[in-house]
Symmetry: C2
Subunit: 293 residues, 2 copies
């Protein structure tokens, strides 16, 4: 297939029809959106590269599609937003043709449909390795986005579910973005800070504490472990895509929310994280270290 | 450098401070925008891959940065929009470290500053080849975006400058997005359709005529040629990033606009393009054909 044929095929498989705040999707130089009154827009991009973020052995094309979109949706969840639109820039590798692209979009569409996300554009080219950059756009009531710089001494530190699942599954686990919980954290729990656990608790919590100018005290016994995961994997594994948040001391969390209290925010050097009273070095996932096996 | 250090460096080199409609840029899970009342938003992504869209021999990092952003800005120009924000997802190749990334951002920033574009986010990872996906966001008065589906029989077909420049320069020419002209085409010339010439006149005009449901008659003698370019290169070369537009028969164009009349829209099969009365096959740039030398 040539480029025009591929774009027509993608439009058939995945594209949204103009409706409501979507004025024009795939098919012109740009997509056109009409923002809703009283809303801020959230924008995030996540670049996934074959043999860095996934391998052909562990991720058939539909799983790659799911994972690429899930990473972006998780960023929207972390801000308490409602995901709306996505654009996907794809470089097809020599091993991937129209058939693999279709499977990729099957994975994308399954997740997009679950959260009402419309595919409104992108780009397609070729490369030695399969590459996908997923751009996700969400909405949030004006001035109400959850950020990572609002944690205050005395807040409790929570995670949305068991950690280490991705590492324990050898990175085969499919991430599930915590969209509904993110919205609840904003509306009901009045979270003071929130982010998603993409790179590992030790690194991501360090980042949140750094942005907020505070320290953290964690209790290892309180960290919920995924089946088969070690504490090490829960702390440093990354790619769990659970939410990490801080709630004010007065917060009464609903036990059904699945939130687990794992520690407290304290006054202290910005970015310092201690586990059971000992310094915890940030050690999460970094693409500039050797690839995951 | 590790990932956090690279992100801090990028924030120093390129990032915009929150101001006006930018609520939060680089540093959180998402960027936060506050859309202006009465405006539609334009979104475009362009993926550039080393050895497909550029080579190390022809494009040092600063030129890669310029070119990546220029392609997105050109899409905004094609819709008559004002570019505002960009997000850049980058995969660094083994040959590129902090020094090359800095040069890349120097190229990006030079062009971004010229058009008042703020860098508000992105992603960074690694790959065998350097990859950049540029996301550009622009604004346009509500319902006024120029689209490619509005050409009508009787309209004149115009291009914004000499064609074949990229091909004649062996793809070394640096594209200059036609932002001011795009805005003029929307405001003053009331263009009926517009797009940018990214893949070559023959292919792009075919696409515009297809979207508009009309045919085109071109005159080869009227097509402005770049210095050293052949008619073949002007027709099929691609990457010129001039604007292609149609103006109503009553349009009086300003000679200073640089617009050249190259033909007319006619009733006929959707997408048909004829040159001097003979059928012209769309033959522009397609990443799924062998790479450019």
């Amino acid at each position: 297939m040539n480029e025009p044929a591929l774009i027509r095929a993608i439009a058939r498989w995945a594209a949204a029809r103009p409706d409501g705040d979507l004025i024009a999707g795939i098919g012109d130089d740009c997509a056109i959106l009409r923002p809703r009154a009283g809303e801020d827009l959230l924008l995030t991009t996540d670049l996934a590269v074959e043999d860095v973020h996934f391998t052909r052995a562990t991720h058939p094309p539909a799983r790659v599609g799911w994972k690429c979109l899930a990473r972006g949706l998780s960023d929207i969840a972390a801000m308490g937003g409602v995901p709306r639109f996505a654009l996907l820039s794809i470089a097809l590798a020599p091993w991937s043709g129209a058939r693999e692209l279709r499977a990729f979009y099957r994975g994308v569409k399954k997740l997009a449909d679950r959260y009402g996300v419309s595919i409104i554009g992108g780009d397609i080219t070729r490369s030695e390795r399969f590459v996908c950059d997923a751009v996700v756009i969400g909405g949030v009531p004006r001035g109400r986005a959850l950020r990572r710089d609002g944690a205050r001494a005395g807040d409790g530190i929570y995670v949305s579910g068991p950690l280490g699942r991705a590492a324990a599954s050898h990175w085969r686990a499919m991430p599930e973005p915590r969209i509904e919980l993110g919205i609840e954290l904003r509306r009901r729990f009045r979270a003071t800070a929130c982010m998603d656990l993409s790179d590992g608790l030790s690194l991501d919590l360090h980042r949140m504490m750094l942005a907020s100018g505070v320290s953290a005290e964690l209790r290892s016994a309180a960290i919920p472990l995924a089946r088969g995961a070690s504490v090490e994997q829960a702390l440093h594994g990354g790619e769990d895509y659970e939410l990490l948040c801080t709630l004010p001391p007065t917060a009464r969390r609903d036990p059904r929310s699945g939130l687990a209290l794992i520690g407290f925010v304290t006054e202290g050097p910005a970015g310092r994280v201690r586990l059971d009273g000992k310094s915890l070095k940030p050690g999460g996932w970094d693409p500039f270290r050797p690839p995951k096996s």
